[in-house]
């Protein structure tokens, strides 16, 4: 039986690990390669590295991080942040990443999804969407809007419509990141996740708000998510990967228990 995935998200700035809380204050908490190997040995199912490096001349540091990760850990991982062209995506793929995460650049230029999908296959293209709950309107019928820049910029695009468009353009997976839930650790945005997961036929990864194992269980069952992204609850040592997985497994969720 196909297992639900627990994916750890590592934010990387200038080659060092940082966890953003509500997209505002970030602080360095360690080496991304070492952390990745540690999570791999503990049985994480997949990893995401999000490059939040501000200056483009330091982007090469990320390529070094990707290639060290790829030579030591043998599970899928994706890279996002700062990928604006097919060439950017190809570079991280060649450095060893299994998938690329497209977010703002896909909103600005939706054709990037199609181009990247043609170049490396749909399975390698993850559409990552930042979503904010807004009043229902004729342009946002779902009540969920796609936003960029950590929620500061509204795009006027309905989240469901964007998910369907991303799938049609060739995305192979979707990350649904709730800006409302992000950093709260009070649980994933179940309603939003479920709406997206039920609308598309590609896997959906829930992101934002995971604070305890129960939240993963909820988003797998009620939220219909295929995978759950966890960050701070692992990074600050509040729960181990094993504890999260054991809880989900004890409730009957199919989960991979080996490392």
């Amino acid at each position: 039986m196909l297992k639900k995935r627990i994916i750890s998200c590592l934010d990387v700035r200038d080659g060092k690990l940082a966890k953003s809380i509500k997209f505002i204050d970030t602080k360095d908490i360690g080496d991304p390669v070492e952390t990745a190997r540690n999570y791999y040995e503990q049985g994480i199912d997949e990893l995401v590295f999000y490059d939040i490096t501000a200056s483009s001349d330091k982007r090469d540091i990320m390529i070094d991080v990707v290639s060290s990760v790829a030579s030591q850990i043998f599970i899928p991982f994706s890279v996002g942040g700062g990928l604006r062209t097919v060439e950017d995506c190809t570079r991280v793929r060649l450095a060893g990443a299994e998938k690329v995460n497209l977010n703002t650049a896909a909103v600005t230029n939706p054709d990037l999804i199609a181009q990247t999908s043609r170049a490396m296959g749909a399975q390698a293209v993850v559409l990552s969407m930042d979503v904010l709950a807004v009043p229902v309107s004729s342009s946002i019928p779902s009540g969920y809007e796609i936003v960029t820049h950590g929620g500061r910029t509204h795009t006027g695009i309905d989240a469901i419509e964007w998910a369907l468009r991303g799938e049609a353009l060739g995305a192979g997976e979707i990350v649904v990141n709730s800006i409302d839930a992000d950093g709260t650790r009070s649980g994933y945005e179940i309603r939003l996740t479920r709406m997206i997961a039920d609308s598309v036929r590609i896997p959906v990864i829930a992101s934002g708000g995971g604070g305890k194992p129960e939240h993963c269980y909820e988003v797998f069952t009620e939220g219909h998510a295929d995978a759950a992204l966890v960050a701070s609850i692992l990074h600050y040592g509040e729960y181990t990967i094993r504890q999260i997985k054991e809880y989900c497994a004890s409730k009957g969720v199919p989960i991979r228990m080996t490392a």
Partner: protein
Amino acid sequence: MITIVDYEAGNLTSVKRALDYLGIDSVISPDPDEIRKSEKIIFPGVGHAASAMTTLTRRGLDTALQEAFKSGTPILGICLGTQIILSHSEEGDTSCLGLIDGRTMKFNLSNASLKIPHMGWNTISIRKSHPMLKGIVDETEFYFVHSYYPQPSNSSDIIAKCEYEIHFPAAIAKDTLFATQFHPEKSGVAGLSILNNFKTWDGESC
């Protein structure tokens, strides 16, 4: 020395990196003569069957692989590589290498809530022991990502199955060929042990 067949299909470097980590000598090559002479071959791949077959044929790699198989070279197929060693693929209605008699089929699932591609970790159930599965217990999880699956005509060529609404072949084998639909190079410790088994496998099926 293991030769990894380069036919512009997906990320060959991830297989190479896993072999490097295990200390297994390997080289990535697009050269049919090098494939013919190779001691062992890994035939990986992600992508579309029709474009893969076009590249293989253009480079003369199709006949090189067929000859290597006939001469008893141990071959490990992975994902798309596994699909196109069969005779035919539904993907683009493509004639394939025919090292194993059979067809590659598209998932046709009745449960609309099941996602395509089949992506993530899934367990295999071993139907037949094989030296390439040494150390792998039944119900071990491996990483899959695919929309098509290999269906050999002869059920005795099926080594392990996996369930995604249907029970599809996850590992198939014939003579000196062993091929997986899952990705050993992305399947953690269990996957690495399959690559290690390939290092020592002499091509005998038992």
